[in-house]
Symmetry: C2
Subunit: 169 residues, 2 copies
């Protein structure tokens, strides 16, 4: 048995940890991308939003008398490390990274939609508003990735077939 407020706080902490994970993952991607500058630039722009989202969620937790969970953040960093290692080990690192980023963005979208529904039930309108601020940013990043994926694949395949050119990242 748990109140909507308990659940809301737990989900807010999860959302904060998820944004820590997003930052680690995208930082590592942006640092490694060499031959696909539009992707790197879009990720770098989104990193700024990601840090703002972390701050909004931390502020929101504070207003509700709670704070981010260090334990969840350690888990998030660990997950991000695993994802990076998995990706770096692939010859098609840039494509795997874009696919992972698509999947991650849609996880975030689902998380904020669930959080918004819980905040409505708990009558926490500040949390609803934060979700409504973050959701279009996540959706825009997801849309950009969706739109640019076929082009990225084509560029990757062209580079992969050239003898003395690196396509990996």
């Amino acid at each position: 048995m748990a109140t909507s407020r308990d659940i809301l706080l737990d989900w807010l902490r999860n959302a904060h940890a998820m944004e820590v994970q997003a930052e680690e993952m995208f930082k590592s991607q942006a640092r490694r991308i060499e031959h696909y500058p539009p992707l790197r630039e879009r990720i770098e722009r989104h990193l700024i939003e990601t840090r703002e989202q972390q701050a909004m969620l931390a502020q929101c937790l504070k207003q509700l008398g709670a704070e981010p969970s260090a334990l969840k953040e350690i888990g998030a960093r660990f997950m991000a490390m695993g994802q990076s290692l998995f990706q770096v080990a692939s010859t098609d690192e840039v494509v795997k990274g874009a696919v992972l980023a698509c999947s991650f963005k849609h996880m975030e979208i689902a998380v904020y939609r669930a959080l918004a529904a819980a905040a409505k039930t708990a009558g926490e309108n500040d949390v609803v508003r934060i979700c409504e601020t973050i959701l279009p940013q996540e959706q825009a990043m997801a849309d950009w990735l969706d739109q640019h994926l076929p082009e990225l694949v084509e560029q990757y395949l062209v580079r992969a077939e050239l003898p003395s050119v690196s396509a990996k990242r």
Copy 2:
């Protein structure tokens, strides 16, 4: 240096392993869900599609003189097991499961879009056609999950607040 065909075969094997992972994950979800029958029924319907998709991809690999990779499949089963354990350990298992399913569906959508782009470049029209068959099925499942998520959250919160009722799954 790799040909588009090498890459295409590798991605087809990855897609096959991904569908093995999808089957394991959704089988475990469907088996565990107790109090959310519409979600269980939708997953069960999608499990039938998932098995058909596996068969299409295996057939496609065969036509190209290749076959699914047992190693990748073991990895996929292992990943699915990890996801299930992570989820089962949560009091909000049903919501985490739905969020994970959203994220997984969008990973699959990105994978099939990348695969279709590679198949076009390699001139493998049978693979393009298979992607075009599978993509609307994945999109329909993703849309269903997106649409039903707020309702699922509300049902979960109502059950979670009741004293002698289980909300978890």
